[in-house]
Amino acid sequence: MPANSEIKKLHKQLMKTHRQLSRRLDQTSDADEAGRILREMEEVNFRVMMAGRLLFKETTAAIDAQIAKVLEAGAELDSAIKELERIKDIVKGVGRFLTLVDKALDAAKLLI
């Protein structure tokens, strides 16, 4: 059996969200906006590290179900990052997404 497939999906989703934010940063010429995007990227990057650490731990069905919800939210967020005009809305969306991510990661960490 290779890596834990649910945590692997979460790890991939977080990296994808980070890439989306990075692309948005590439297109931003406003320094304040860029700074705010970078802070959000920093928070996502932190979760990428955490999920990476848990990549090979076994999880439970309950955690897997929680991760499935996170993945759904992540896919919605990725579209929003591309479409939303106001950075404020992106920051809000990332915040909501990371709250879900943290719940799943906290549950997975308890199994270490």
């Binding site: 980070h18 802070r39 590290m49």
Partner: protein, 293 residues
């Protein structure tokens, strides 16, 4: 890409400068020792890099707490990888004896004992300490070694255990990571690539805040860091290639081919060394230039 590289190496070495199968084992054992060193160095590098990111993040947090810091690859995991490579080295040592006609009787019993040991040790480790695929591979290898029959042909034995050995090496390679179907990195390489992208972002923001005189310098630093990101990834890819090369060499032994394992392992080791030198040179250049933003 890496798999192709390993395949090409193996293909180019089969049939040239070949010795007997037993002669191929000492360089293979050396390859395992080097891969073990590579794992410790590569993971320590990863931890150091990610620790810097955690420090960068914490200055933007309202509070300072220990939750903000963790090793991306924990010390106990480093120890487990070390033990896994040590187990493989012991296995290769027994193979060397098995392939030497004068020592094979004594080693048949030792292989079965090693099999029992691996089965017991890694059944406990399963899902706890090691990536599950690696632990499962060791359990499978142990089970096969226990079942060995006296007087069996050495190549038949190697062929029989080969799938388990391949599982171990492939699971290790997967932990390091490769590109998915969309070209994005996974595993440890994905984490490290993302961390570098984060670092690059600090230069992008600094660029927007800079006057035109500063912009060129920031752009130069950004460019240097792009190279560093590539180099760090290539170093991890080389470590992965070493693991795959060990698997490929075992596979050649199982086919009864006379592969020059020494040449194969040397190629990977040299590439790894070259890339580490490259990273060190780039880090030194950045530090000399003042580093940071």
């Amino acid at each position: 890409m890496t798999a192709l590289f390993v395949a090409l190496c193996v293909a180019s070495l089969v049939g040239c400068t070949a010795g007997s199968s037993a002669e191929a084992i000492p360089p293979l054992r050396q390859g395992v020792v080097t891969a073990n060193q590579q794992s410790q160095t590569a993971f320590a590098d990863v931890n150091a890099m990610l620790r810097e990111q955690q420090l960068d993040r914490v200055v933007n947090q309202p509070t300072l707490s220990e939750d903000a810091f963790f090793s991306a690859i924990a010390a106990e995991e480093l120890a487990v990888w070390h033990r896994a490579f040590a187990s493989i080295e012991v296995y290769f040592g027994k193979l060397e004896m098995l392939l030497s006609p004068d020592r094979r009787t004594e080693v048949e019993g030792e292989l079965r004992t090693l099999g029992t040991d691996l089965e017991q040790r890694y059944a406990v480790a399963r899902g706890e300490e090691l990536p599950p695929g690696i632990a499962a591979g060791f359990v499978k290898l142990g089970g096969l070694l226990v079942q060995l029959k006296a007087g069996q042909d050495a190549v038949v034995i190697i062929r029989k255990v080969n799938p388990a050995v391949q599982d171990i090496f492939l699971s290790m390679a997967e932990a390091i990571g490769t590109r998915d179907a969309e070209g994005n990195l996974e595993g440890v390489r994905g984490t490290v690539w993302t961390a570098w992208t984060q670092q690059l972002g600090t230069f992008q923001v600094a660029f927007l805040n800079a006057d035109s005189a500063q912009k060129r310098r920031i752009a130069e630093q950004y460019l240097e860091m792009l190279g560093e990101r590539e180099a760090h990834d290539r170093a991890l890819a080389s470590f992965r290639a070493s693991i795959l090369a060990l698997g490929a060499a075992h596979d050649q032994l199982a086919q009864g081919d006379r592969v020059s394992a020494a040449g194969l392992i040397r190629i990977v080791q040299e590439e790894y060394k070259g890339l580490r030198d490259e990273i060190a040179a780039m880090k030194a250049a950045r530090e000399a230039a003042g580093g940071g933003q």
